[in-house]
C-alpha cells in the first residue's frame, strides 16, 4: 500500500474504506536468523535497514509493550548534527543526510522540518568554542553559521538579550537541523520493516538470554523461547536490565530526563533554540505547542517521571531566556529513562558473547541518531564490522582510553 496524494483523493471518493493497517501482527516463530530486542526507533530502523539495505531475511523485532512505546515517543523531536569531535560528527551528519531522504525512502510522512537550530553563546570564550565546533561541522559537510548579536536579533527578536548573568552575544546556527514527528518515525520504520518481511512482535518481553559456551542461542520471552544466532539489543534506557541477563555490566547509568509541552499557540518560535548556560531548550511543534526541556534529574532512575526541582529549573531557564512564554499554560510534562554513558557518547558494538550485539548509551540524544544508529547497527549485524561512521563507538574504548567525551566531564554520567 503506497501513500500518495492521488491515493488520498481516491480514498476520499470511496469513503476511506480502502486503508489497511500499516503492519501485520504476527505470532512469533520458533527461530529467526536475527532477533532485534526493542521495538523503538533504533530497533525498528535496524530491522528496516537489515532487511532492505543488507538484504537479510528471517528477522524479528521483539517489543515488550507496543511499538514506539518508549523514548521514541518521549523525546523533544530535535534532529541536528552539530557536534565537535571526530568520533561523533561524521556519524550524526550521516544521520542528518538519512533524515533528509527519510520520507521518500519510507514513503511515509515523518514531518521532517529543517527549521534550523541556534545554540546561544554569552561570552568570548564560548563564541570561540562555537567557532571551532562550527568549523568541525563544516569539515564534516554539516554546514554552520556563526551569528553575532544583531544578526541573531533580526532572526529571533523575542529573546532577552540583556539578561544580567547571561547576556546573549550571538549563536551558532545549523540551518539544516530541525524537528521530525517522533511517532511518525517509528511508524514509518515499522511499516517499512514489515513490508520487507520483518516480524514485528509486540507484547513480547525478553526475560532471559540463552547462552551456550560463550555463544548466544536465543532469547527467552514472555511468549516462549525464540532461537536466534544473532541477537541485537537496542533498548536504550533499559540497557542495564537486558544486558544483565547475559551477565554483562555496562559503562551506563539509567537516568530520567523530563520534557514539557504547552497548549497550542500561534507560530512564534521559528526553529530550535538552545540556552545551554540556563539549562533550557525549546522549539514549537506544528500543532503549536511549545516543546521544551532542560537537564536530566541527575540520579539513577527507571521511573519515567522526574521531580519538581528540575521542573523549576527548566521554567526559570525559559523565563530568563524568553519572558514572553510566562503566560503560556503547561499542557503536559513527562519523563523518559535514558542510558547515560560514561563519556556521553553511544555504544554500537559486538560483545564478548559471540552473536550478541549491543546498541545503547544514547544519553539524551538518541532520537536524532535514529536513522544512522539503525543503519550502523544493521551494518554491524550483517557484516560483523562497524559502519565507517560508527567506529569510535566500540565498547572497549573506555579500557583503551579512547573515550568520546564531547563535554569533557569524565566518567560522571549525570554531568554529560
Amino acid at each position: 500500500m503506497k501513500f500518495s496524494g492521488f491515493r488520498v483523493f481516491a480514498e476520499a471518493l470511496k469513503g476511506h474504506t480502502g486503508w489497511r493497517p500499516l503492519w501485520r501482527n504476527p505470532e512469533p516463530k520458533p527461530a529467526y536468523d536475527y532477533v532485534i530486542v526493542g521495538g523503538g526507533g533504533h530497533g525498528l530502523a535496524t530491522a528496516y535497514y537489515l532487511a532492505k539495505s543488507f538484504g537479510r531475511s528471517r528477522i524479528a523485532v521483539l517489543e515488550k509493550g507496543w511499538l514506539g512505546s518508549g523514548n521514541v515517543g518521549r523525546n523533544t523531536t530535535i534532529i541536528r548534527s552539530n557536534y565537535l569531535l571526530a568520533g561523533n560528527e561524521p556519524f550524526y551528519e550521516f544521520s542528518m543526510k538519512l533524515w533528509e531522504g527519510l520520507e521518500q525512502e519510507l514513503n511515509f510522512n515523518a514531518m521532517v522540518s529543517q527549521r534550523g537550530i541556534i545554540n546561544l553563546y554569552h561570552t568570548d570564550a564560548q563564541r570561540d568554542a562555537f567557532r571551532r565546533r562550527g568549523n568541525a561541522m563544516m569539515l564534516a559537510g554539516a554546514g554552520a553559521r556563526l551569528l553575532g548579536r544583531e544578526e541573531l536579533r533580526a532572526m529571533v527578536p523575542f529573546l532577552n538579550y540583556d539578561n544580567a548573568r547571561f547576556p546573549i552575544k550571538g549563536g551558532l546556527v545549523q540551518p539544516r537541523a530541525g524537528t521530525a514527528r517522533h511517532d511518525g518515525v517509528a511508524w514509518g520504520y515499522a511499516r517499512g520493516a514489515d513490508s520487507h518481511g520483518v516480524d514485528l512482535i509486540q507484547n513480547c518481553e525478553v526475560t532471559g538470554v540463552r547462552l551456550d559456551r560463550g555463544k548466544v542461542r536465543g532469547v527467552e520471552t514472555s511468549r516462549g523461547y525464540i532461537a536466534a544466532d544473532r541477537v541485537g539489543v537496542a533498548v536504550a534506557g533499559s540497557s542495564g536490565r537486558v544486558m544483565a541477563m547475559a551477565g554483562m555490566r555496562l559503562p551506563i547509568e539509567s537516568h530520567v530526563l523530563q520534557a514539557f509541552v504547552t497548549e497550542g499557540l500561534k507560530p512564534t518560535i521559528p526553529g530550535v533554540i538552545t540556552f545551554g548556560a540556563g539549562h533550557f531548550y525549546i522549539s514549537q511543534s506544528d500543532k503549536g505547542g511549545l516543546v521544551f526541556g532542560g537537564d536530566i534529574d541527575g540520579y539513577n532512575s527507571y521511573a519515567q517521571r522526574g521531580n519538581l526541582p528540575v521542573v523549576e529549573d527548566v521554567a526559570e531557564g525559559g523565563m530568563a531566556l524568553m519572558p514572553m512564554i510566562g503566560r503560556a499554560r503547561l499542557l503536559r510534562m513527562w519523563g523518559g529513562v535514558v542510558d547515560m554513558s560514561m563519556d556521553g557518547s553511544p555504544i554500537i558494538d559486538r560483545t564478548q558473547i559471540d552473536g550478541l550485539y549491543f546498541n545503547g548509551g544514547w544519553c539524551y540524544g538518541g532520537f536524532k541518531a535514529t536513522p544512522a544508529s539503525g543503519y550502523a547497527f544493521a551494518h554491524l549485524l550483517a557484516t560483523g564490522a562497524p559502519h565507517e561512521t560508527a567506529r569510535a563507538y566500540r565498547i572497549d574504548r573506555f579500557a583503551r582510553g579512547h573515550v568520546v567525551d564531547e563535554r569533557g566531564a569524565g566518567a560522571q554520567p549525570n554531568l554529560h
Binding site: G240, P251, E253, S254, G298, N300, Y302, A303, F398, P413
Partner: protein
Amino acid sequence: MLIPHPLLGPRDAQEFTYLGDARLIDRPDSSAPDAEAAFCDYVFLRDNPAGVHRELWFHEQGDRSWLVVTRDTVTHEVLGAELARNVPLSRTRCGK
C-alpha cells in the same frame, strides 16, 4: 525527595549533590597486579539496578557530609541513609 540525614533529620534532596553507586567507596588496590583492569571496572562499569540502589550523596548545601542513601530507582522511594564514613568502618568491625 527527602533524604533522612542521620544527624540533621529529613533534608530536601536539592541540598545534595549526587555521585553514584556506593560501590565507589571500595577503591581498588593500586598496587595489585590486576590494578589496571580493576580500576577500569571501578571507574566505568556500573550495576545500574532497577530497584533498590545504594548510592553516594554529598550534603553540599548542608553539613558537607557524604551519605550512603538506599533508594528505589523505580519508585524514587528513599529507604534509608547513613553516614558514608560509617559504612567501611562497620564493615571492618564485622571482620569483612
